[in-house]
């Protein structure tokens, strides 16, 4: 072990974005056979560090040695050439091309033609070495998320990667798919490859890694050898400066009804149709909406936020029926929303942060008069909100798209809570967030509940639903097929309802 040169040695890496220090004096070593867990909150600099390694960004200072020799990595081609492969969180695949075509990109041809036999032969090798299989003729758009990820891994292996970086690889995998991934990673380590595994999920980090490197505020703050004595709690506390506490739900008695849906139906077609949705949410209550993704939760959220017009049905907000359900109307009646897709429906990533922060309320007198923006007030308001919600960005003028996922969610929360909504619709509010950011969101949802507001929490994370909700409804194929107070809910009975199995059947 000691005689082999490390696969990778990064020393003193610094990377700045304006005045934000994304990486500062970072050292990282990977030896053959190691699976390194890279752990840290959103914005701790993990992804930046990996992008420096893969040539997406150029470091402002520092040195990278690969297999003992200093390396200059200016672009992805350099990284690939040196045996560094990366599986990005958002896959770099062409969905309208076949698996074969995605593997062939960037490969030299033979006699000027695409070299399909070479790919077939290499795939065979990869199958026998790592147990990864793939049908070459499938179109990528027909593959599941898990299969697409496998394709990304195969792509890297096919180019002779000896060091594989995976950026939050299990974010959208089923538990079975994640297990398959871990088996493949262990096979790679057994064959003297190195793996860097970036994740927030502590139990996965513990399950698959040999060593855990913890980053905070752009620096490496701790390294832990992963053995039986390592605990989730220990890792979590190293990752966050503050202690991790499970959300505490104060007792609360539901007050008057703040939101009511009656007989909501929507047209189907490409999206699942909602059928006869009835819901009530009261003051001081969190209603959890459970369901496997694609069973109408997105459509329900769209109806409630006025973006999808129902065929029939009515919506009451704070005791008043809405004559027309439009985004403007529901907002006027006091519904705040945290949309599922924060990058597209939530925020406009190409605009400065300050614009995103005030956009829904741009007509208010303090932000604009006679159609002219009051930029000073907008920036001031944005600064205040950034402070209040601990949004980490260089200033109100920064392009929204450059913020990390956790910070974007904080921006959304700050924006929606600033005008004191009576009902908050939160769709998948912690998807892709790290522990600290998720905890932050949870605290705010619970605070709203204590303040006597109503919250609709749509989530695929049962743990989250169970911890926060007062009542749970389960959606299956556009219908609410089960509702229960939280005291009666168990993973098992909710799980069955999510699979469409009702007790009556």
């Amino acid at each position: 072990m000691t005689t082999t040169a490390p696969l990778l040695q990064m020393r003193g890496i610094c990377k700045y974005f304006g005045s934000v220090r994304a990486n500062e004096e970072v050292d990282l070593t990977v030896t053959p056979g190691e699976i390194i867990g890279l752990l840290g909150e959103n914005g701790a600099g993990k992804t930046t560090l990996m992008n420096v390694l893969f040539g997406v960004y150029t470091a402002d200072a520092g040195q990278i040695d690969i297999a003992g020799t200093p390396a200059t990595i200016r672009n992805a081609a350099d990284a690939l050439h040196l045996g560094v492969g990366m599986v990005h969180q958002h896959f770099h695949l062409v969905s309208h091309h076949s698996v074969m075509e995605n593997l062939l990109v960037g490969q030299p041809g033979r006699w000027g033609q695409l070299d399909r036999p070479y790919i077939e032969q290499r795939l065979q090798e990869i199958r026998s070495r790592f147990g990864l299989e793939m049908n070459l003729d499938d179109q990528v758009r027909d593959l599941s998320i898990g299969q697409q990820q496998r394709l990304e891994i195969i792509k890297a292996l096919l180019r002779g990667a000896r060091l594989l970086i995976l950026d939050e690889p299990t974010a959208s995998l089923t538990p079975q798919e994640a297990d398959g991934l871990f088996d493949a990673l262990r096979a790679m380590a057994a064959q003297q490859m190195g793996v860097i595994f970036i994740s927030h999920k502590l139990h996965e980090i513990r399950a698959v890694t040999t060593r855990v490197v913890i980053m905070r505020y752009g620096r490496v703050t701790a390294t832990v050898v992963n053995d039986d004595s390592t605990t989730n709690r220990q890792l979590a506390e190293l990752m966050c400066e503050h202690e991790i506490v499970a959300p505490v739900k104060a007792s609360s008695t539901p007050g008057r009804e703040l939101l009511r849906l009656v007989g909501i139906c929507t047209a189907g077609g490409l999206r699942p149709a909602l059928q006869d949705i009835d819901l009530q949410v009261h003051a001081g209550e969190i209603l959890g909406v459970a369901g496997v993704s694609g069973n109408g939760q997105t459509e329900l959220a769209d109806v409630m936020s006025g973006m999808l017009t129902p065929l029939s049905g009515q919506m009451w907000l704070d005791g008043q029926v809405l004559r027309k359900i439009t985004p403007r109307q529901v907002q006027r009646q006091g519904l705040g929303r945290i949309p599922e897709d924060r990058m597209h429906t939530g925020l406009i990533t190409t605009l400065p942060l300050s614009s995103c922060m005030v956009l829904p309320r741009i007509h208010e007198h303090r932000f604009s008069r006679f159609g002219v923006l009051n930029r000073k007030a907008i920036r001031q308001f944005t600064k205040e909100q950034m402070q209040a919600f601990d949004v980490r960005a260089s200033g109100p003028d920064v392009r929204t798209g450059t913020l990390s996922g956790g910070n974007l969610q904080k921006v959304l929360l700050a924006r929606e809570l600033a005008w004191d909504p009576t009902v908050l619709l939160a769709a998948q509010p912690t998807r892709g967030l790290d522990i600290a950011a998720a905890q932050f969101v949870h605290e705010h949802l619970l605070r709203l509940r204590t303040e006597g507001k109503a919250v609709v929490l749509i989530s695929e994370d049962l743990e989250e639903l169970f911890a926060l909700s007062d009542r749970i409804v389960v959606m299956y194929e556009g219908v609410i097929n089960g509702r229960m107070p939280i005291a009666e809910a168990t993973v098992q009975n909710v799980g069955l309802l999510m699979a469409g199995i009702t007790e009556a059947a």
């Binding site: 770099h92 062939l104 695409l114 180019r159």
Partner: protein, 313 residues
């Protein structure tokens, strides 16, 4: 019926292929650009400029092929400008394209005046003659239609299968398509997005140049200000009509040429008394109709119109 039998003669089909030729050059050129993710709205101006440059080159050297070379280089110059604007500078493709068309159209008129002044008779060249392919040209009906054409006509119909082969069977073609679909994917596979788009735009310019050259040096024997008259724009429409496939785009060009050839004959036949403008309108109206019917399901390259910046999430 009598009219039809008069029209659908050998000469009609030969004319059809000639009308289709500049459209095929334009369409295939545009297709390279768009498959790489760049909408080249500069095509109208680039074709105009090439027609002028090619004509001038041939006029002074008395070599038609030298003229074609000049036209090709002129087209590539246009492609280069587009590449600098949309790829290196990452500007809006719409604005860059319209700007390029305006610049190159204006430049064509300006340089033409500068070179030829305002002569009382319009300068002409001895245009290309048809190349009669031995034996094959003697086949009845098919021979005169297919094998007694200008060299550039043969070339136009040759580049369609070649382009298809390049796109779907060569590494470069796959890289090009990937750049047009998901530049991130291409970049992470070690393919330079910028270089690929530059190459695509230069090739596009080359074909647009050939289209311009055909018009001023084969179809006509002079450069006039109406020489392109919307053929560049039609090419853009035909790429959509052809769903970004070389063969389907060629079929679109042939359809347009068929209607255009038909209306020319109808105008000349003097048998139907309708204002000639109605005939002139026909190909365009039918193109719009065909587009509306066919291209509803067309899927553009996913990264079309999107500038690629590396350090962006």
């Amino acid at each position: 019926m009598e009219i039809l039998s008069q029209i659908l003669q050998v000469g009609f089909f030969a004319a059809l292929l000639r009308i289709a030729t500049p459209l095929i050059f334009g369409t295939i050129g545009e297709l390279y650009a768009e498959r790489a993710g760049v909408l080249n709205l500069g095509i109208e101006g680039i074709m105009m400029f090439s027609a002028m440059a090619g004509f001038s080159g041939a006029y002074f050297t008395h070599s038609l092929w030298f003229g074609v070379l000049v036209a090709v280089l002129a087209g590539m110059l246009g492609g280069l400008l587009m590449a600098v604007l949309c790829v290196s500078l990452g500007l809006s493709q719409h604005v860059s394209g319209i700007g390029t068309t305006l610049l190159f159209s204006g430049l064509s008129f300006f340089l033409y005046r500068l070179i030829f002044g305002q002569p009382s008779t319009i300068p002409v060249i001895e245009p290309f003659r048809t190349v009669n392919i031995p034996w094959l040209a003697k086949i009845p009906i098919i021979g005169p239609v297919l094998f007694d054409q200008y060299a550039l006509v043969y070339l136009a119909f040759l580049i369609v299968p070649v382009t298809s082969w390049i796109l779907y069977h060569t590494p470069w073609g796959l890289n090009l398509r990937t750049v047009g679909e998901n530049p991130q994917a291409a970049n992470s596979a070690g393919v330079s997005v910028a270089a690929t788009r530059y190459q695509a735009l230069l090739i596009a310019g080359m074909f647009m140049g050939l289209g311009g050259a055909f018009l001023s040096m084969a179809q006509y024997n002079a450069f006039t200000f109406g020489v392109i008259s919307g053929r560049g724009w039609i090419s853009i429409a035909l790429v959509v009509f052809g769903q970004w496939s070389p063969y389907k785009s060629m079929a679109g060009a042939l359809l347009f040429a068929f209607i255009d050839a038909l209306q020319l004959r109808l105008q000349a036949s003097n048998m139907i008394h309708i204002p000639y403008q109605v005939f002139l309108m026909m190909p365009f109206v039918l193109t719009i109709l065909a587009m509306a019917l066919v291209s509803r399901n067309a899927r553009a390259p996913a990264a079309l119109l999107r500038p690629f910046r590396k350090e962006e999430r």
